[in-house]
């Protein structure tokens, strides 16, 4: 099936990789059958464990790894091109093939990266910059020991910030310690998400800021406030907090007007819902300073390809000379200034881009 599937040319390197992966899988299964034929009872439990592992891989192959190939369509080409460009623009990922499929915005970073975007959003330019955030997860994984060390430093600083000035030796103190541990644990995933937001901004500039704020703005109360029970062990920080941290970073990059505009939009919605900002100890000014410092260090560690000033200019995109980042920024410029013209512009630009 994988060999015979009709796929866009951009997906061919991924098919080769999956074919190789399948061959390795077959070799391992053959070895397992050979071991079984040896008739040695003492190794039966090991063979059983290998069989369980093979079953898991077969399930993942069917439910995840083969999907980009078996469900491929021509409309995947836009995201595949952007992922391919993104991978080639960084030495850590230059040899990784692009693979993409429908799903909630996310990435599977292991063993080979597969990106997901919702089926409507993936058809146009506006939300493609979200892939830059997901790329951050891949960069993290490829520099995991160094990145984990930095996140560990952040977690220890957060634990220090949360330490009460005096300690008692009673039940109340035990509960405080448990709560502190929960917050520190939660920050492992939060730190990576905030880092990935910073990566998205670094690569995509204004296009990422706009895609991020618009895509995440469900206008739900949960985007602004979450109870301690919901925050406990959550995989992402409260969206409003992420928007504020990202806007602050954008301001430092000289995108002050846009950052302020986005902050105003979110503040208006928060006020309309009567939401009071409260992170229940998971975030405060002191933690904010540490987060900023560590995320800066994480960016230095992975050294992403930063957007360029000429990629933000208000001029028409040229397929011959301009970058993908310019194209994505241009899409948002047209969308925000001439919404009625945008569908026509996008159609023409897509044809030029994929030609």
């Amino acid at each position: 099936m994988i060999d015979q599937a009709t796929i866009p040319t951009e997906l061919e390197p991924y098919r080769v990789l999956i074919q190789d992966f399948c061959q390795q899988y077959v070799r391992r299964t053959e070895q397992n059958l050979y071991d079984l034929q040896l008739g040695q009872d003492m190794i039966l439990e090991d063979i059983l464990s290998n069989t369980q592992g093979a079953n898991r891989i077969a399930t993942l192959l069917s439910t995840r790894w083969a999907i980009p190939i078996l469900r491929a369509s021509d409309t995947d080409r836009l995201s595949l091109r952007i992922i391919g460009w993104m991978h080639q623009a960084h030495p850590l990922t230059a040899t990784l093939p692009p693979a993409f499929t429908d799903g909630a915005t996310s990435v599977w970073t292991a063993p080979v990266p597969i990106y997901f975007l919702p089926c409507i959003e993936r058809l146009g330019f506006l939300y493609q910059p979200l892939l830059f955030h997901e790329f951050g997860h891949l960069l993290y994984r490829l520099r995991k020991p160094e990145m984990d060390a930095l996140v560990g430093e952040l977690q220890r600083e957060i634990a220090r910030c949360l330490m009460p000035p005096s300690r008692r030796n009673d039940r109340h103190s035990d509960e405080q310690a448990r709560q502190r541990q929960v917050i520190v644990d939660t920050w492992y995933a939060w730190a990576q998400e905030i880092f990935c937001d910073a990566i998205g901004l670094a690569i995509g500039g204004p296009s990422f800021l706009l895609a991020f704020s618009t895509h995440l703005s469900m206008m739900e109360r949960g985007d602004f406030y979450q109870s301690p029970a919901d925050l406990r062990g959550s995989s992402h920080p409260v969206t409003w907090l992420r928007v504020q941290l990202l806007a602050e970073r954008a301001q430092k990059l000289g995108l002050s007007d846009l950052a302020q505009h986005i902050l105003n939009e979110w503040t208006i919605i928060a006020k309309a819902m009567g939401v009071q900002e409260d992170y229940h100890g998971y975030f405060n000014v002191e933690i904010s300073n540490e987060v900023r410092r560590i995320v800066d260090d994480m960016l230095v560690e992975v050294d992403p390809r930063w957007y360029l000033p000429e990629e933000m200019v208000d001029t028409e995109w040229s397929a011959d000379s301009d970058s993908i980042v310019h194209l994505l920024n241009r899409a948002w410029q047209i969308y925000r200034t001439d919404l009625a013209y945008y569908p026509q512009w996008e159609k023409e630009a897509l044809n030029r881009f994929l030609a």
Binding site: R28, D35, L38, Q40, M42, I43, E45, D46, I47, S49, N50, Q52, G53, R56, I57, T59, L60, T63, R64, A104, T105, S106, V107, W108, T109, A110, P111, F116, L130, H133, E134, H137, R141, D148, A149, L150, V151, G152, E153, Q155, R156, A159, D174, A177, R178, R180, Q181, V184, D185, Y188, A189, Q192, E193, L216, G233, S235, H236
Partner: protein, 149 residues
Amino acid sequence: MSNNWLAAESFERAHSIISALNTLSIHAKMVLANIDDTARSSEAVKARAVLSAFLESFGAIVKEAERTREGMVTGADPRLSQLARTFVAKRRQWPQHSRLYDITLSEVDALLESDNPDNLRQLIAYLQELRVLLEQNVHADIVGLLGEI
């Protein structure tokens, strides 16, 4: 935006370690039974490297978890942190019946490099218990990735 990355990375790690552990376990049993298993020797060398690397990083996390009463772990993903805390809690149980919880990293390294029959027997028992611990963890990764029907 979902957190697929956490479950996928945790699954990949567990799968590669369990796979390495099985290779070593089979190889050790064959050597102990005087059955020619040279065809697996190069795989066993690679498996040894995978397991040693994991035990070194896991050992550091366990050490950190043991330093505080609440088992504070930093710089490790939630699944690995949880595994380390489970390990520490079991190690603190008394009486201790399992070799898994009182053997040191350097002792495991020595077992991995040894062909001595007594050491091979200890290694096989150790690998068996480590596999049980890891397999209990991998189920949650699979559910995290694929959900349940």
